[in-house]
């Protein structure tokens, strides 16, 4: 499960480096609101696993200060929605300080927690922050999908000398994924800034991150039966973004669809499109791009509306068909 992978990453890195500590709401005695830190407080005690009061701005600031002074905090936001209270410290205190100090003060901190929509938690608890954080130089922004991603990227984030925003997804915490032997090793680290081609294909490129990768893979399986081969790219890293992998794929498939759970405008898909269209891939595209995203609405609570506010497999499948001109609606759509 992704939850265990994250736990393992923290456990291994805490065992490896005394400077690493975890703080956040309910991370210690309660084992984490979503049980991601289960057992760590018992193992590492009060000094290194710290329950904070519900004061994000304050504890994020404390965490950043401690990183400036040589520690390596893992700062958990119970969900990234609450990172808005602390966002000034993420941006102004963490991301910009190395630059402002001309390289003197680095800030090795990981901000992590679940990001994006969960189930039935409505507008204030469902926002995706990938594009916001991706906008800001000085940050590295990761968005793992599978257990291997989760473990390898979190370990990379903790070892990194710069501030990393690590966007998890509550909905996949409990999802079981195979872990290779290599991934189970305590030296398994995935490089920051590289995307993963989850599945190769030649007809259309699906670029996605986090839980939406799952949707893409499902859609790809279904389309395979209809003779369409999708190449599925799991971004893993939102910033820096691995444009090479995307561009290469688009030059092969000539078709691009982006898939994400966040809002459509100024989102991850927008940046992917812009990168492709300012690149050499410009001349290779045979059809307009489609962004499959969350709907442009605050998240509603009611189940059927919530479902319509989030991308579904059929949105991807239909988009692929339209893009490849396999559907009668395609003509209408393009006009």
């Amino acid at each position: 499960m992704v939850r265990d992978a994250l736990n393992m990453a923290m456990d291994e890195e805490m065992a490896r480096d005394d400077r690493v500590y975890l703080l956040g709401e309910e991370v210690a005695q309660y084992d984490g609101a979503y049980k991601v830190s289960r057992g760590l407080w018992k193992k590492y005690g009060d000094r290194r696993v710290i329950d904070t009061p519900i004061t994000e701005m304050g504890f994020a600031g404390i965490a950043v200060g401690s990183a400036m002074a040589g520690l390596r905090p893992i700062c958990e936001f119970m969900t990234f929605n609450f990172s808005m209270q602390a966002i000034d410290h993420v941006i102004n205190s963490a991301a910009k300080t190395l630059y402002m100090s001309a390289g003197r003060v680095n800030v090795p901190i990981v901000f992590r927690g679940p990001n994006g929509a969960a189930s039935g938690v409505a507008a204030q608890h469902s926002q995706c922050y990938a594009a916001w954080y991706g906008h800001c130089p000085g940050l590295k922004v990761l968005s793992p999908f599978s257990s291997e991603d989760a473990k390898g990227l979190l370990k990379a984030a903790i070892r990194d000398d710069d501030p990393v925003v690590f966007l998890e997804n509550e909905l996949v915490y409990g999802t079981p994924f195979e872990m290779s032997d290599e991934a189970l090793s305590d030296e398994f680290v995935i490089p920051i800034g590289k995307a993963k081609v989850e599945r190769e294909g030649k007809h259309v490129t699906l670029v996605s991150h986090s839980k939406s990768v799952e949707l893409c893979l499902e859609a790809a399986r279904e389309l395979e039966g209809q003779g369409v081969e999708c190449e599925v790219i799991n971004l893993r890293s939102i910033r820096p973004m691995d444009e090479e992998t995307i561009i290469k794929s688009v030059m092969k498939t000539h078709h691009l669809i982006t898939v994400e759970g966040g809002w459509p405008q100024f989102g991850v898909g927008a940046e992917v499109c812009a990168k492709v269209f300012e690149s050499a891939a410009f001349n290779y595209l045979d059809a307009p791009i489609v962004r499959v995203t969350g709907a442009d609405v605050p998240m509603p609570y009611a189940k059927s509306l919530e479902q319509r506010a989030l991308p579904q497999g059929f949105n991807i499948i239909e988009s692929v068909k339209r893009t490849l001109n396999l559907s009668p609606a395609a003509a209408a759509y393009r006009s």
């Binding site: 309660y30 519900i54 962004r291």
Partner: protein, 363 residues
Amino acid sequence: AESASLNVLSPYKVYKLDDGPPESVEVTRDDGLKFYRQMQTVRRMETAAGNLYKEKIIRGFCHLYSGQEAICVGMEAGLRPTDAIITAYRAHGWTYMRGVSVLGVLAELTGRQSGCAKGKGGSMHMYTDNFYGGNGIVGAQVPLGAGIGFAMKYQGTDNLCVALYGDGAANQGQMFEAYNMAKLWDIPCIFVCENNGFGMGTPVERASASTEYYTRGDYIPGIWVDGMDVLGVREATRWAAEYCRAGKGPLLMECATYRYHGHSMSDPGTSYRTRDEIQEVRQKRDPITGFRERLLTNNLATPEELKKIDVEVRKEVDEAVAKAKTDAELSAPNLYYNIYKQIPEDYKRISRWGGTHESIIIV
């Protein structure tokens, strides 16, 4: 008897105040029966909500108010309907007390269109006249409440706003920012801390360097009230409201209470406290049982009358549950309504696949 004179269950504590609310309070039979009915309704409604959650008909977060009923009932009785209230996500009892029917609450919880936010808000986001939510962000409702109080003064009324928050929220920086401006500008706002002993799994001592919440406004006077005593809460509220209406500025109030259930339905609520502890509060401090006793001892009600209320309450809640389960959800196009009140010309509703054609939107 038609009325009785009773003492509040615990003496008030006051901070930076010369006097406090009276400790001997008058209660009429009608009011007594009303409070009993209201508390029972909230209790039953929350039990029903818990069951609906277990049946997976309510989704997401669901924070129950059971144990804290005396606060919403007592405060509402001490306020005017034109006063405003704003609270956090533990909002069901308050929503009901502000005039939303049991169905309006439960159907919101089941996400149906009879819900007071038509199913768009859910557990944490309920609204009605002079009730501004229901806020999912710990502490955010407090500056909002000060702003509502600000508006009431600006508009020249003598209404006030009550802004409620938990013991966990009490440490949030924005509380202190709101206190400061409320005091500087004499905003008619009562800041009420519902201290139920825990913020999720964290007991107050591990979260707050001072747990004397009624003193944490520093320059703002405060009162401590037993939040399990509906009469004490009503009396303190009346007194506080008068203080604010007189233009003396804001006031703090701490209501000591207890939450019976876990923090939300996904929390069993027993890892950070013992079952015995919960049991003991239920037996010794329960706001409803205690009040029931007092009504009977003081001849304000007969067991039969109370029984009858119980039956009526049960019926009301059961009916609401049935409707809340079968009521329809809003239709698909509603996904795109209520984003703006004033829709810009040529505004495009952007669906989850880039298309803005109606045909795409509604699938």
